[in-house]
Symmetry: C2
Subunit: 490 residues, 2 copies
Amino acid sequence: MRIPLKRHSVVPLYQQIEAYLRQGILSGSLAANTRLPASRQLARDLGVNRITVENAYAVLETDGLIYSRMGSGTYVLSPDPLLVIPKDQPGATWPLWQQGLELRSSKPRSSVEIKKASRHPELISFASGIGDAHLFPAEDFRKVLQTVMRRDGIAALDYGEPNGHAPLRETITHILASQGLQTRAENVLVTAGSQQALSLVSQLLLKPGDVIMVESPTYSGALELFRALGFKVVAVPVDRQGMQVEALEKLLQQHHPKLIYTIPTFHNPTGTCLSTSRRIELIVLADRYNIPILEDDFVGDLRYEGRSQPALKALDPGGRVIYVSTFSKILMPGLRVGFLVAEGPIYQRLVDFKRVNDLATSTLIQRALEVYVTVGRYQSYLRRSCQTFRKRRDTMLSAMQRYLPAGIDFDPPHGGLFIWLQLLENLSSTKLLSFAWEEGVDFSPGNGFFIDQTGGDHWLRLNFVAQSPDQIEEGIKRLGRALKRLMAAP
Amino acid sequence: MRIPLKRHSVVPLYQQIEAYLRQGILSGSLAANTRLPASRQLARDLGVNRITVENAYAVLETDGLIYSRMGSGTYVLSPDPLLVIPKDQPGATWPLWQQGLELRSSKPRSSVEIKKASRHPELISFASGIGDAHLFPAEDFRKVLQTVMRRDGIAALDYGEPNGHAPLRETITHILASQGLQTRAENVLVTAGSQQALSLVSQLLLKPGDVIMVESPTYSGALELFRALGFKVVAVPVDRQGMQVEALEKLLQQHHPKLIYTIPTFHNPTGTCLSTSRRIELIVLADRYNIPILEDDFVGDLRYEGRSQPALKALDPGGRVIYVSTFSKILMPGLRVGFLVAEGPIYQRLVDFKRVNDLATSTLIQRALEVYVTVGRYQSYLRRSCQTFRKRRDTMLSAMQRYLPAGIDFDPPHGGLFIWLQLLENLSSTKLLSFAWEEGVDFSPGNGFFIDQTGGDHWLRLNFVAQSPDQIEEGIKRLGRALKRLMAAP
């Protein structure tokens, strides 16, 4: 045990030891039943006389903070609740460099905290970015973990290859091919969710102050990332055919972005798909202006109707598009396994950069996923998900027709997770949210999806896959009530 | 299934579909037994006539690439090996931005590849930075995973809290307190290994071009990270009492670093401990010059003899030191769970930055660790590890006396994982490595631990904990042979 001692202090050493342990016990950081070192051992550790330690222990024992069991050792007792030191932040003065950080931090109070404060007993949430946790095959996965731990033993707990478990990378190529995107395991990099993939790619290609081009609106988590990394974010507007590629060339000439980030299929938050002609034009333009494309295909497979569009990556003549996807949306988000596909020199650079950032992604989870996610199982899981999600979308659309007042505008999405709703121009989704929480329903207000976190205030995003049909029905009913209250408000 | 089609091409659509699937099957990306969509479905997906798809399938079936089973569907066959397209990189011309990346990449061929090439059937490695995988309690951990999956179900697979699973953070504070460092769960951030903690802290506090101060030599993975992030790395030399803090003030005035990165206890690679007076002086200096300290305490608990030193964090008057540690070194590296401790405004900034980088670290693993790593279990595991590792250190030291030629210099380490060896001035550890591989032993040559990857060529690092005593004996014998060959070489 390492205890800081002031050897030239007027406070005797035994009192310093006693005070340090007392502080730990009363503040709760030294937990009840923690075994303290034998006095002989602690004396050796600290380079003090054994009597010094024994004196310190004796005082603590007299005060009922520790107890000795003959032949077994000395243990911490639960302190008398009256004595416990409150866990308040000590009245420390932070060093100057910390005060600077405080000023720069302009993060609003997180919506989680606010929601907790609103305290509706049974909030129905359409705010999430993921699927329905109740559909996740947790029990099957438990068995797979067992199989893997029994089969691989300690190998399952080793660092593994820096670009990902090879058989999992192979499986990923087979799944992608079964969905129409052909690639090779040597071009796949397994990441800690697709969020890490976005982080690695953008950091490798941009430095702070560089320009990144995104759709407006776009995935809020990407915007937060790009802001945190100090990039200048420039937006291309989105219409019903996705990114307005016609407007892109002028923006490229004007801003010289280092990267184009796009969600071409079932876009987050709007749900639109980039048309085929725009896909081709986007690749041509990026090539002409020598700009890499980062394609976020987070739910490209979740199509419920309409004609499919090839991934941008499938149109890539070679090394132009970096493709990012994930298992999180249809399987288990907590596994934190995503992947990217890239060719050319950037691939090895990404592998190296991933390695210096976190060495590797849990091999155990990778091995388990590899066993669990066969192509056949993925295909049938996807089929079932599409059926379930299509029904939920239809439930939500019909509930919207019944319960929402007139003047709401939206396009029914052909796939993905989200409905993107436009309120009347004079209505604010931020204000709607307070009413909604009171009624017991939650959604994502539009502002978070825009680069300056403004300009989207009459928009909102609803996740239609995360709740059961009954909950969807009830949630939209509540949203209708909230909207009527908002429209009636002064 | 998404297949890119050129609708105005002279190539008929059925041939485009057929060619795309054929390419996938022959290149192996479309795996055998993958089910293809029903022709009606694929026709709908692609917006083509059903006959078009049927024609494509018919050609593929005639060529023995797919087969249909009545009522079940159409499946991919294993292609005739003679037809398989080699997996070579296509002769693509990379876009200009990729060529730029290629030029910037100066990474030497990885040592893993070289080692594979050396092909000794039973290489004994003293090169690793971790413990002995065979001591990892894989079977116990398997049972714990089961318990957690049964107990928590889908909750174990959710995103979890952005700063880490609360009970695990509580456990971490109890373990730290049992080792003499008192902190609170609200100041702990769980990360993907300590490597991610280093990455988050340094990125938050520095931008490319900023100066970071490190010990010379220091942990190679930190150097690689700082280089990859574009920081200017300035070194403070290390002697037998650790960082030469006396030299620090002048360097601080000269270089204005934004962060001091240090491994004060059982330093990597030298194994030294910073003396108490230097610890205090370091804190005072950092405070005077308003510079944060990043303390990497990767094996602070693994002490085999001598007096303990308090962690720098334990001497921190508040918010000066950011403390990083990990379970990887004594438990299971593949779990990828580390943590940091920080107070003040930087804590929330780090939580936010972690969230935008990868959302969260696998909750399943965090929950399992929380159940597995009780304070008592950690303490007894630590006790056993110290006993085992002390014996292995002694085995290595005595083998070195017997098998290594005279003129080798080193200090027997009092803890940690490494012995840092100095060869005679005219001998190169890089050259020694070739002989060592031929003899069947591996180590880490010194250059990788120095900021310019030079200046350490007569140093080498041996890990004394990762091999069994028999292997240590044999490995050092081989190293002795390699050294004699090197000394005899012209």
